[in-house]
Point group: C2
Chain length 340, copies 2
DNA sequence: TTTTTTAACTAAACCGCTTTAGTTTAAGTT
DNA sequence: AACTTAAACTAAAGCGGTTTAGTTAAAAAA
């Protein structure tokens, strides 16, 4: 069965391509194509399984009805959930989503941005590695529609949807303090990311406000690429004198996973000896032993808002205004912090 | 900053579009464009941030260098991992990936297939809802390259990469039997899916071969859309006389999650009173209380193989041969089945 | 010197669709 | 009967590239 094109339909029915195109795009009536002709065209198209070529259509109309989503890693549940919701919302608003993972590599991210641009996406949602100021700035200069999510360039005025990382970490740390913990470790990532830095500041601020003096030795920074190897030493350090923490705050879900695994390996009693809490969670965190107290992020809101903002920008409803939305994260208390 | 097109470069440098196109596609040398001209073109393009329009290029060349991936749900870790690996492998082979979730809705899946076709993807990888025989068949008839993954149409001879569901469930059930369990419940999904049905048969076969008589009352089928509500009754049924199971096999990770949650709610001791095992797992299943014995799937292999098969088909390296690859899944023993 | 070859280009068709600016014919007005 | 108007179309340009089939001028060969 050969592919059928617009011109094939036109020729077969002895009708102009124009008429066929108009009818198949639902503009038959407004262009006064007779009911009769319309029916002929539509039924012929259906019968022969006509599939319009979006490349041609996009090229011709100068639109692709596609938005791009660039995330660090589609395998990470946090981002895969966002991707799911972005797709849903985008479809609702008439857009397809093209997505790609940067794998936290800023070179690759820059490439992806260009690749998406040359695929004529009409806008971008980016959870950036935050090492592409230049690239992002050039989008901005070109007045190209985009929204940053999750990770933000604080030095730039852009559309963005982020969560309040500072406060998220502050409340979870305060929660531990409220339960009597005083020697609170913090396992984090090398803070190239503003989000991670904010979490660090939140942790620090909670301590200081509670009159606990901040001890840099209780903060362990792991490499995003090598944390699985580094976790053992980090936990080891935190456990032994003079640190001997009574609790640990993990800056993100995968550190929590490996951290808990390590604590179990060392047969540390959680939460009795060491309470733990996590920023962001995995699906099964309520089933884990012990169930893990987490600050959960409003994934769905992040997705919905960012798509809406982007589409507004694309469709020109808000012309110039830049909107930075900060969403609250939510503390979910479970047993790992020692309550109940 | 205005967008710059091929013709702009050509005009600015007083060179033909042809030359510019050739040079920018790295065909300058083979077409004997002078080094000098090449340099001029390349530096001008770089300086003005030239980004070629893929729609135009794709249209003109009749290729999009894109493959489509259709999965039930990108938020499901199983599929998001596959997506991640598919993207990686595809990029390696020079293709971009367009992906979309069908949300287990076969109408939507059919739409997605058409949407992808009209975006001129050169091939498709589909984890089908298995309710689109017609659609898939028509791909087959049109000789359009595609590979089915995870879910298979057994009545059709297509390229496919699947796991051995029958055997996966068989070995995990045998494992329970080996540990002395005799009354083994099976919590599954309404078996519209061949994969699910195969798992059911594997369960049954393990029982029969062990001389345990198969009791239909120990099999609970939940609706994929409503399992969270139905789990309570299912577990309740399995626990009470005359069923009183000593173990449960869950057909997929999310049923395991809700099932374990329900068992905990009822304060059933796992694994002492009821052992559990899972087909497929979540990231944190080793941290769960108790750590869950699972049959894990070779996600990476599924992704790599399917992309390779597809690209081979697309590039015509294997012209006609249809290849069905069945991969083994792997039993990972943890505490939830009562060992150690 | 004439012919052939080669280097270094270019004009224009084409990909499949959309859309603007008509055209043609018939019906309605005056 | 001449003039408008409306209905039902259509030709052709254009979207931004790629590619085929040349062309032109200079160098090499005869």
């Amino acid at each position: 069965m050969k592919k059928v094109f617009l011109k094939d339909i036109a020729r077969s029915l002895s009708i102009s391509k124009t008429a066929v195109s108009l009818v198949l795009n639902g503009k038959g009536d407004e262009n006064k194509i007779s009911k009769d002709t319309q029916d002929k065209i539509i039924s012929f198209a259906k019968k022969h399984n006509y599939v319009p070529n979006q490349l041609a259509r996009g090229l011709s109309r100068g639109k692709s009805e596609t938005i791009g989503l660039i995330i660090p890693n589609i395998s990470d549940t946090f981002y895969s959930k966002i991707a799911g919701y972005v797709e849903l919302k985008a479809k609702e608003l008439g857009y397809s989503v093209l997505f790609s993972s940067s794998n936290e590599d800023n070179k690759k991210e820059a490439e992806l941005i260009r690749a998406m641009l040359n695929r004529q996406v009409e806008g971008l949602i980016i959870a950036s590695t935050q090492n592409n100021l230049k690239e992002i700035k050039s989008l901005q200069d070109d007045d190209f529609p985009f929204v940053l999510i999750d990770r933000n360039y604080p030095e730039m005025e852009t559309n963005a949807v982020v969560v309040d990382n500072f406060n998220g970490l502050k409340i979870v740390t305060e929660h531990l303090i409220g339960l009597g913990r005083r020697k609170i470790g913090f396992i984090t990532l090398e803070p190239k990311l503003e989000a991670i830095h904010q979490r660090y500041l939140g942790y620090k601020s909670a301590l200081i406000e509670a009159g606990i003096n901040f001890n840099k030795d209780l903060v362990k920074e792991l490499s995003p690429l090598n944390y699985e190897d580094e976790i053992s030493k980090a936990i080891g350090d935190l456990l032994k004198f003079p640190n001997s923490v009574d609790s640990v705050v993990f800056v993100t879900h995968y550190l929590t996973s490996v951290g808990l695994r390590e604590l179990k390996r060392r047969q540390v009693k959680v939460p009795q000896e060491v309470a733990i809490v996590s920023f962001d969670e995995l699906t099964a965190f309520d089933l884990v032993d012990p169930p893990i107290t987490s600050v959960i992020q409003p994934v769905r809101d992040i997705a919905n808002l960012s798509v809406e903002m982007l589409v507004n920008r694309i469709e020109g409803k808000d012309k110039t205004m830049v909107q930075k939305t900060v969403l609250d994260s939510k503390l979910v208390v479970r047993k790992s912090c020692g309550t109940f």
